[in-house]
Symmetry: C2
Subunit: 390 residues, 2 copies
Amino acid sequence: MIDALEQDAAVRCAMTAVGREAPSTEELARVAWSVITEPGDGVAGVLIAELGALEALRFALRPGTNRGAPSADRRALVEGLRRWRARADAVAVRQAVEGAQHVGARLVLPGDAAWPAELDDLGPHRPLLLWVRGDAGLLRAEPRAAIVGARAASAYGEVLAAEFAGDLAADGVVIVSGGAYGIDGAAHRAALGVGGPTIAFLAGGVDRAYPQGHQQLLRRVVDSGAVVSEVPCGTAPTKWRFLARNRLIAGISHATVVVEAGWRSGSLNTAGHAAALGRPLGAVPGPVTSAASAGCHRLLREYDARCVTTAAEIRELWAGGVGGATPPGPAADPDQQRLLDAMSRRTPVPATELARRSGLDPERVGSLLGVLELDGIVRRVERGWRKTDA
Amino acid sequence: MIDALEQDAAVRCAMTAVGREAPSTEELARVAWSVITEPGDGVAGVLIAELGALEALRFALRPGTNRGAPSADRRALVEGLRRWRARADAVAVRQAVEGAQHVGARLVLPGDAAWPAELDDLGPHRPLLLWVRGDAGLLRAEPRAAIVGARAASAYGEVLAAEFAGDLAADGVVIVSGGAYGIDGAAHRAALGVGGPTIAFLAGGVDRAYPQGHQQLLRRVVDSGAVVSEVPCGTAPTKWRFLARNRLIAGISHATVVVEAGWRSGSLNTAGHAAALGRPLGAVPGPVTSAASAGCHRLLREYDARCVTTAAEIRELWAGGVGGATPPGPAADPDQQRLLDAMSRRTPVPATELARRSGLDPERVGSLLGVLELDGIVRRVERGWRKTDA
């Protein structure tokens, strides 16, 4: 496949248009990986980190590879090979790059001047690349604050999101959010309203506005901010891609603030990533009688989120200095990290609920908990499992 | 003075009426101390703990004592002697006991079956005694939860206070509060409404309803709960006595929950005592746009209070087991404790603000901070001082 891509003049031309004048085979391989994997594929991440994108690709596509499996857990690798090979198609890669060219997106790769080093803390779940429409320089502008929350926001939440985002953006803080209805939209809009910087991370390709109703808003974000995605143009958002996208919002931001969130809101997932990365996490309280604030109160109770009620209190989240938070090293095993993300230091969670939260199967959860318990990282208590302070 | 009291038949008769059939001289001395001191007088507390009430009283009233001052800090002792002697009056003591007899109050002393051992954690600030109208047995009934908050409560706060207190009291939880308008009143009323147990701690004597408008409510609390005070009958509530009273509410309760509180509400003082005693502290969030919730959000931010939104979450505060919290030993120096109470682990507080919060003079604050810093208990940071995690 790589040979086909290297010899494809259209690919070369499109690569030039997205900012890579003389693309190396390694760069092409990285783009190919972004097409054949789902975002956040930790097995691919480990493989690429070990071998480089080109060698990893050759390894993955070579017949017989599923026999002598090296480093990564064998079963996971075999499953990966099956997934990846089904998608290994030079045409799809060309279409991805041409799609980006078509909408004027730029390709930003790890190590580029525009690459935000904070994303490297995601370890094997680091994105392979970013597609950026608008000002790619914003990816490194500091500080960056994620203002996120429920689509089904109340007037209370939208007014506060706008107030906080407007205040911060007027001050040069980059407002990061997910482009969704509700809190996200209010945050982007307020930043644009004061002529401040804002970045929207999409779960689908940057060539398609999602949600449709935010076509105009996202157009404005492209014009004076940046719309970013790790998935190729032409890719539709899926439930999984929304969850994966959330790790980018948390990962790139120096602090994450949840303004309103229902009890099972997706923004709790973003918050969980921020907490797992050791990034400051704020939650805005609201009436206990409002379902739209239940998730925020849950963050205060279960995730040790900081209660924030004003833009000034949000600024305090990174007052220790941007980059001052010490992210824990990425966990050796991506499943382990997913499991730990699902746990709390304070509130015990039963194993069945952990399986549900982490999306791992109950048996795997059981064996991981056993290992983590031996390491003193988690502890079994009366009503479930919790992380220790170690 | 003690001799006069011992020989006073009226005192003896009144003491019998308040539950001490054959009062010892030590007991009489303790009542005398409660009349001649303000509540929470730490200097008197240390003296009584060291010598016993009777010896301490003899020592304090003996001419010339202000010369060879022993244990307690000399200046504080000399000041104490001046205050105490000005009030040392056998008639006032008789009136206190007769006042209690008149309203059918009982005298509860440390070591009595009804004495709540939790109050002993207050160290030198432990009350000398308690006057109880109603069911003194409630002082030991478990668990006990303080539900407190602003007098200037909103409908939101009063409804929640009633909901929580009613739910808990129906379950046998003793609802402790301060008998004030607003949150306190709503909590007592809800407990009475479900036929549950409730205790009102007053800042003045138990013979006078304060506030006047709660005369009927406090009457009902006497009838099916308990109205308690450490100050003698006939004593009017003062600002100081309200603050001192708050330590009893926090001290006797297995958990303290602040439902609504303004930015400088007195209930933050109660919360501060709970935190200093290592007792679970909960705060109910509310709209950030409501001034009546600002103090609660402050507790979440600065006091590591736990966010509670339901009665079930309040129960979790003592779920580790009643008495499961480990209170830190009382500080050797009462001023030190007052200073530490005014500090936070999270938010640095400037020394001038610490002086204001603790009521200590700035020079004393400076010298105490120096000592505490050497011990590694506090740390000077960029914007002030904070407690370390040691």
